[in-house]
Amino acid sequence: MYFFFYFLMSGVFLGAIYGIIGLGIVIIYKSTKVFNFAQGHLLMVASLLVASTAGRFGIIIALIITIVGTTVIALILERLTLRPLIGQPLIAALLMTIALSYLLEGGALIIWGEGLYKYPPLFPHEALMVAGLAVQQQVVWAFILVAACFTAFVLFYRRTLLGKAMRATAEDHQASQSMGIRVTQIFSVSWAIAAALAFVASIFLGSLSGAHYMNSHLGLKAIPAVLVGGLDSIAGAIIGGLIVGVLECLVTGYLTSELGEVVPFIVLLIVLLIKPYGLFGMVRIERI
């Protein structure tokens, strides 16, 4: 029972990270119809930026530098590489973000090398005791933050003008353009939001395992999380993230870690066979 609880805890924590990465992917996909393969790599850059600047400038300034830096990188990538691809077939956008992820990984290797950087401690180490079970504080924080992100985005999309403009853009680029929405601006905004989310996820991943250029590979495992939930659903990204994270940790804990790596993808195939648009994705009716 104790072990089960422990696996569940780490599963929820991992799932929260997947969920936040997935949220970034969903927000970009919703407005630009691009599947951002490089979301995990933005996260990796963010975690390395924090780890390498915190020693010199202090944690607060390092966090500010990082969020600005990551957002600027994302905006530059969007403007230079994805903007010219509007109207190109799907595979072009897919390969472009994959190529971007390689560029980010290669760039990180050149700048930071293969070393593991120590992440500044942000969460207190003492565990909270809940009904005789130790719960690490970062897990609690991750859970709170995921809930906060979810509420914030639901409110943002329902209430604010910008959020409504983004929903309109997701629906139809040309129609929203003729309603006076600057679609290109919406693209930039969604990439900036995704970069900020990558930054948030990097805080938790950094506290969990430090900053390393291989952190990006976590983004690869966020892919089944997003698709299980549905590519265009905010709730789906978070619930999918939690499902995949918990399953992965339970399988890794009770069976083998190699199987744990594959389980997300097996779940993905099964879910897609039954519900092709994911659990919460919008079913599109197509016309010619």
Binding site: A99, S101, V262
Partner: protein
């Protein structure tokens, strides 16, 4: 594409549909094939033959991906895994049943094709990114299957080995003999691919890619043709995988990683999607680039400080791949094949500049 030199007039239907239309084209083709046949005698360098052999094997696999993704429009991010299926199938048939390579070769193509159909089943309901990600799932599941399943046969991370392929008294264990093993198969598969894409099935694939709903209304069964596309694409991959194991004589599960699958997609972008010639050009381009990078590493080590040089050489593959794909996607999304067409038309219309 459809343009031909002035003065060439087709009077029979057979002439109209022929791939090779004019006498100079026949002569060029004949000379090219002769050149390919004599190549090991003209340039007996082992290193060069090694590179050419790999290019020819990759070309077969790329033709498969091109048919599946470039023509039928079903994005597959797991093509390397299907190549691995072919290689493992070949090795296990040879060790389990002691069959000769010549029977295993078509059998492994068939096995890879059937596995491809299995993982292509979701394509009946999935489209676009969802399908691409389902094929990523295939990549991971297949790789870990060979890693962990039946360790007494597949032997886990250690991988499988086979004896060199024999035909009568010829043993295919050096580069020159392997060249003569691979060349006819590569030529045959290229011919097959080139003809397939202009057959009824190839036209159905293109219709499906351009608009699947419209294609269905016109009487193309999406169910049948998507699965056929997966079967044929993966059949090519399986043949390539079997040849690769005849070439390397060993296989490990990590030889066919996600990165290789992505490289293959990159190759068809670089060469030109939906062009058989593009597949060949793209493979040559990428392989030559690869060799250049390998040659560059020691050079970097001698110029730059050690730390920087090791970082650069570790990241070079990633950065170069990223840059090449980004530049091709932005500057020439139709790939090298399109450039070649432009060049041909320039030459044909010279000294006039129109017509391209």
């Amino acid at each position: 594409m459809m343009s031909r030199p002035a003065g060439v007039i087709d009077v029979r239907y057979e002439q109209d549909i022929a791939i090779i239309r004019t006498l100079p084209q026949w002569i060029t083709l004949g000379l090219f094939l002769l050149f390919l046949l004599l190549l090991p005698k003209l340039f007996p360098a082992r290193y060069l033959l090694n590179v050419i052999n790999i290019i020819m094997i990759m070309t077969i696999s790329i033709h498969g991906l091109n048919i599946l993704t470039g023509f039928a429009g079903q994005i597959s991010v797991g093509h390397a895994a299907f190549m691995g299926v072919g290689a493992y199938a070949c090795a296990s048939f040879m060790t389990l049943w002691g069959l000769s390579f010549w029977i295993c070769l078509p059998l492994s193509g068939l096995t890879a094709g059937l596995v491809g159909v299995l993982f292509g089943l979701p394509s009946l309901r999935l489209k676009g990114f969802y399908l691409a990600m389902a094929t990523i799932a295939a990549q991971f599941i297949i790789t870990s299957f060979f890693f962990h399943f039946k360790p007494e046969l597949f032997r886990g991370a250690q991988g499988m080995n086979i004896e060199p392929v024999r035909l009568g008294s010829i043993v295919f264990d050096n580069q020159e003999n392997l060249y003569y093993l691979i060349l006819p198969i590569a030529a045959l598969m290229t011919f097959f691919a080139r003809n397939l894409v202009r057959s009824r099935m190839g036209r159905a694939f293109v219709a499906m890619r351009d608009n699947d709903l419209a294609a269905e209304i016109m009487g193309i069964s999406l169910f049948a043709y998507k699965l056929r596309a997966f079967f044929i694409g993966c059949f090519f991959a399986g043949i390539a995988g079997a040849l690769y194991i005849a070439f390397m004589r060993m296989i490990r599960p990590d030889q066919y990683s996600l990165m290789d699958s992505i490289w293959m997609l990159g190759i068809i972008i670089i060469g030109g999607m939906g062009s058989i010639l593009g597949g060949i050009l793209g493979t040559i381009f990428v392989k030559v680039l690869d060799e250049f990078m390998l040659a560059l590493v020691p050079l970097l080590g001698s110029i730059l400080p050690r730390e920087l040089a090791s970082r650069l050489s570790a990241s070079m593959g990633l950065v170069v791949f990223g840059l090449v794909v980004v530049l091709f996607l932005i500057l020439e999304p139709r790939g090298l094949a399109h450039r070649w067409e432009i060049l041909k038309n320039r030459f044909r219309h010279w000294p006039f500049t129109y017509g391209h």
